[in-house]
Amino acid sequence: MAILSKDEAQALLKKVLSYSTADECAVGLDGRTTGNIRYARNSVSTAGASDTVSLSVESRFGKRSGIATCNEFDEATLRRCVQRAEEIARLAPESPEYMPLLGPQTYLNPPSAAATLLTPATRAQAAADSIGLCAAKNLTAAGFLDGGARFSALRNSKGLESYQQSTSTDFSVTVRTADGRGSGYAISDATDPSKLNFKSLTQRAADKAASSVMAKAIEPGKYTVILEPAALMAGDDLSLLGGLVYNMGAREADEGRSFLTKKGGGNRKGEKLFDERVNIYSDPLNADVPGNAFDGEGLPTKRMSWVEKGVVKNMFYSRFWAQKNNVAPTAFPSSFIMTGGTQSTAELIKSTAKGILVTRLWYIREVDPQTLLYTGLTRDGTFYIENGAIKFPIKNMRFNESPIIMLNNVEAIGRPQRLANCLVPPLKIRDFTFTSLSDAV
């Protein structure tokens, strides 16, 4: 039931729309079939699965809007859901930011979803393989494998129709040495789970764990760092690159409360804020990180450049803010791509005289929204580099750094890899600011 075909979804939405007595009505279906397995201490701790489909109905009378949802689809429930949305709308205050519903739109067709997904048995096998590899080396694994399929469909009284199916699977594993003195991490995600190699990812984490024992303390300060993709982007927490792109809203900047606010008023679109090698864009058609074809209102996504040669090329405009400023609105993309070169992380290390390799950054929080200053810590594999080679593991450190400063201090950009449904290259950055040592392993 959870994954409806385009025809099934649109037929259901059409029926729901026919119950509407509102001035405008938008209906949507969102469904997913997902499953996960979690393990720790070399044993499975929890496993779960869920199948859900939810219908949302937004009814509007003039500038008043109400939303109701339900997850049962018999006729009585559907009618009640529409009725509830209309009752809520009648009681709602008028929205001063009302925008009429969109009419018919043309959508791109992102690469299709994977045909075969993991099952409870293949998830259990992946966990068993990961655990087995670690147990054999007297290491301890903790991991999480989660994924499945989803669909999203919209239809409204102005004639808009949209539908998209997608699949994704996420895997992450932390491997620790038995004495707790070494820890390593690996993470990856894929549209097609057959592209994930659980054993080799576990091996990478295991190697980092084994080589990070006996870490030495070095003095905090400014260092050249090689930030691996997991130190730049995270699917489930704030990250240096994620924090930057999610803060590119035009409204906040125009209102004077963003790092993109211009002194004296307005925003900094068109200004060069970063090194000229920095390019960040989104493209729903990218085969490696296919994106959503439309946003929650049915606005089509398209290829958009956000930072081009270090210049802020575009900012996010909601439909309301776009109209107010007489510009085109921007659908928020589901993935970002930072372009890079061809060098692997190993090659970036080779060209480094003195520096630090950072596997992962953790517990990142904003310290100052004015400068996008963030703090956080290294974790699960931090190493000192000298004369083009890793010399020894070092103790973790806290950083206080802004991604704006970071992207001005670019030494080299490596080959992008998929992470959190984005393409992120490893970056070599000079003068990255560490402010204190941590005893955490």
């Binding site: 044993s43 496993a47 939810s54 009752e87 966990a127 008023g265 929204p369 806290r398 449904n421 204190s436």
Partner: protein, 550 residues
Amino acid sequence: MNRRDFVGLAGLGAGALLLPNFPSLGADLVDPARLLEPGLDIAQKKRLADVALNAAKSAGASYADVRIQRTLNQGIFTREKQVQNIGSTETMGVGIRVIANGTWGFAATNQLTDAGIAKAAQQAVAIAKANSKVQKEPVQLAPQRGYGDVSWKTPIQQNALEVPIKQKVDLLLNANAVALDNGASFVNSALFQINEQKYFASTDGSYIDQDIHRIYPNFGVTVVDRASGKFRSRQSLSQPMGLGYEYLTPKAADKIAGPAGSDVIGYKNSYDILEDAASAAKQTKQKLTCKSVTPGKYDLVLDPGHLGLTIHESVGHPLELDRVLGYEANYAGTSFATLEWKAKNLPYGSKQVNIVADKLQPGSLGAVGYDDEGVKTKEWDLIKAGKLVDYEKIRDQAHIVGQKESDGCCYSQSWQDVQFQRMPNVSLRPGTAKMSVDDLVKGVDKGIYIAGNGSFSIDQQRYNFQFGGQVFYAIEKGKITEMLEDVAYQANTQEFWGACAGSCDASDYRLFGAFNDGKGQPSQSSAVSHGSATTRFNGVNVINTARKIG
């Protein structure tokens, strides 16, 4: 909410996207009047619970528990003079947890029929049996007697969900108006209200009916100086509480002034949102032009509305036994306070540090009668005179530390998520000698007074942390002298608590609340409170967080 959930919500229409941090995923948006309708009556719940327990036992479970839960949420969101969104949600279903072949299994359903519930129970047993093949050690549950038919209710005076929406909207818009009148450029305000109607039954013979309420009013004020391009913000000094709407009727007795010269007012069991909105706007204007801190060592005087988060991160989390044992290694992390570390009897803090865990304090977010595995809640010591004496644990962990009973720390955010070990309320006991906040400041030669919680970050084993705040005041020779900006302090957990030089007395004691504490994969949210009186820490490293960007 993670990024993927955010993207997933796109299908729920534009309105849903306006509900920041609002736990609506998986819940239905409903008419507010629906929140006042009673759920299933208790006899129906008991009958359905027995269906689940019997089906689980028949399928081979040696233990089973069932939670029939209805969760009601309402969020009201405004900015300046307008309402942005009002959302009322309801979700109801059944979660069944079993032990079969010595292994946990869990399944949930929103089909509240005998057949639907029995099927979920059988599924839970099937999952347990499948996972038992990779299980190393069988689950050992601390014994728990059945309580029969019992009930518990958050001792609220007025159910916030029964207050007309217009009254709540007017209060938020009035607070916004007060902030704007006092110089705010922008103000966002919100009111969250949650009611968990939880029915728990287990094969131990407990049938527990609980009605749990939480409320959280809050706002953020921003002042912009267009000419310089500079902006500063201040968040409300309210706390999320385990209270009803009475929290929003201010009482003079609940207001506690900060040190003389600070212009800070803290709140106990009731909150004056209009007073705080005025104060926030004035303080934010001051923040634009006040002195930037000189980095160095300072004695810190920390308000309970700030210190609560430091307690949460540096004591509450490292003493969760599942982290200590490694169950959270891949995400939330482990802990420095390992069993070996505890065995060495190392000091956690100075002799002034007495930290207690509980699930009882009236008004706290963690207060319930029974936890989500049917254990009656209690209070117990974690740190006594600076020494670690105990952890936070649940039934399947007690034997690992040689204990015979659970602490009652088991919680699940919803019927559809499996319950696991979560943090109880963790609080610093106030000083026993009479001491006001002015008395405390009097003894400080060079220090900073901090109120409100700001940016916070701590490593995955809970050694190294950095905290900001909402407002900062310089203390010189025993007196508050001026406001400061760009302040954050960095410390190591043991050193920090080792530098604790004492707290004000119980008259200054207040609760801080963490409304959305995340843990687990998939991540679950829980809410806990942390009590303390204003407390002094000597010689803490303060950094300056100002930067220049091009």
